[in-house]
Each structure stands twice: as C-alpha cells, then as structure tokens.
C-alpha cells in the first residue's frame, strides 16, 4: 500500500527574495515523491522563481495563481 501523500502549506507571505524559494527548498528536503507543497508568497519574483526551481529540481508546478493578497504555487514532488 502506498504511503499517504502529504500536502504541506508553506507560508512565506511577507518574506523577500530569496526567502520564499528557500522556504520551498526546506520543505522539499522533508518531502517524498508524490507529496504536494503549496507555497504562499507575496514577493512578485516568486512566480518566475518557482518555475525555475521546478525546472531545475525536476519537479512539477501543478498550479500558479495570483490571488488578491497572495501568490499560491502548488508543486508536485516528482523527484527526490
């Protein structure tokens, strides 16, 4: 039976670059394949940074939404 998929919310609102991407990297260290990390941020650079991070680490950006007060990026962990 497969392990339970973890859905972790990482709240990086108010943190400046490279804070959010670092918080994501810290959560990634604890994640396993199949897990989902949801990153909340307010730094506008996070959109491009999340895509770059995912391309680099070979993980997937499942969604990237600009909401009213925050940017929400959902990342699916494909590689450890």
């Amino acid at each position: 039976m497969p392990e339970t998929v973890q859905h972790t919310i990482v709240d990086s609102r108010g943190s400046a670059c490279p804070g959010p991407i670092t918080d994501l990297a810290m959560a990634y260290r604890r994640a396993k394949v199949g897990d989902v990390i949801e990153l909340w941020a307010t730094d506008p650079g996070v959109k491009a940074d999340v895509r770059a991070w995912a391309a680099k680490t070979k993980n997937e950006v499942a969604s990237l939404d600009q909401q009213q007060e925050k940017i929400v990026a959902t990342l699916r962990i494909l590689k450890r």
Binding site: A16, C17, P18, T22, L24, A25, M26, W53, K56, T57
Partner: protein, 152 residues
C-alpha cells in the same frame, strides 16, 4: 578503425562538460553593500539545489572571524545607505549573515584564503563556525572547476 567526430555533437559535449551544477564565489570586497549579493546569490543557489562554494579573501576575511567589526558602507553610497537599510527592513530582507547561514544549512561551503589569513595573522580557530577550512587559491580553483564563478 575510423572514428568520425561530428563537430556539432562534439561542441555540445564540451558545453555539457563545462556546465556542472555548481556556483563558486570569490568574496574579496569588505564593504556592506557587496555582502548583500553574496547572501542573496548563495542562498538562492543553495535553494535551487546547486553546489555552492565560497572563497573568502582580501578585505572580506575579517567579516568571517569570531569577533567581526561592523562592515562600512562605501563613501560613494553613504547618502543612499540609510534609505537602503530602511527599505530592506521594511521589505523584511534578511541580513547577509542570516542568508549565508541559511545557504550553509542548505549545503554551501565557505573557505578562508590561506595567504590572506597569514597576512592578517588569522588561524582556523579565529574564524566563525561557517568557515569549513583554510585553503589555498589552487585548491579553491580546483573546487570551482567546470562550474560558474563569481568575483565579488
């Protein structure tokens, strides 16, 4: 046996060999402004999973001792320094040493230059816990080989 080398394929192979996932930074400057990009780039690269190596030399060495002096702002930026400091605090930008500590936690390695350590009368024990070792320029260049290299 005849071997045909395709020039384009060969160039692509060379390029691949020249881009190891590694960032090496030679930190030479000793003013506060230059330590900001050091912290940002080291932390960002480490977060991206890139191997990070920092070689501390010249005027930067003192900032890595156990009892560092406050870093000066260069004279030409002194009028701007308070605005930058205020803006950074407001934007919650971490201090350079906090960023470097985070980078270190993510695997970044920091080395002190042996020649400059000798000049300043510093030994391994005089440096803070971030400093991995005291090494020579040749050994650092070997560590940096085939990666990206920055001089700050």
């Amino acid at each position: 046996m005849t071997t045909t080398v395709h020039p384009a394929a060969s160039a692509a192979q060379n390029q691949a060999a020249a881009t190891t996932d590694k960032l090496s930074i030679i930190m030479f400057s000793g003013t506060a402004d230059k330590f900001i990009p050091l912290g940002v780039l080291a932390q960002a690269a480490a977060a991206m999973g890139t191997e990070v190596n920092i070689f501390v030399t010249g005027f930067a060495l003192g900032a890595f001792t156990k009892h560092p002096k406050e870093l000066p702002f260069p004279v030409e930026f002194s009028a701007m320094a308070p605005i930058v400091a205020q803006g950074m605090a407001k934007a919650h930008v971490a201090s350079w040493d906090t960023m470097l500590r985070t980078a270190h936690e993510l695997g970044a390695k920091i080395y002190a230059c042996s020649m400059m350590s000798g000049v300043m009368g510093l030994e391994k024990d005089d440096f803070n816990d971030l400093v991995e070792d005291v090494v020579g320029a040749a050994s650092f260049l070997q560590t940096a080989e085939n990666g990206q290299l920055l001089f700050i």
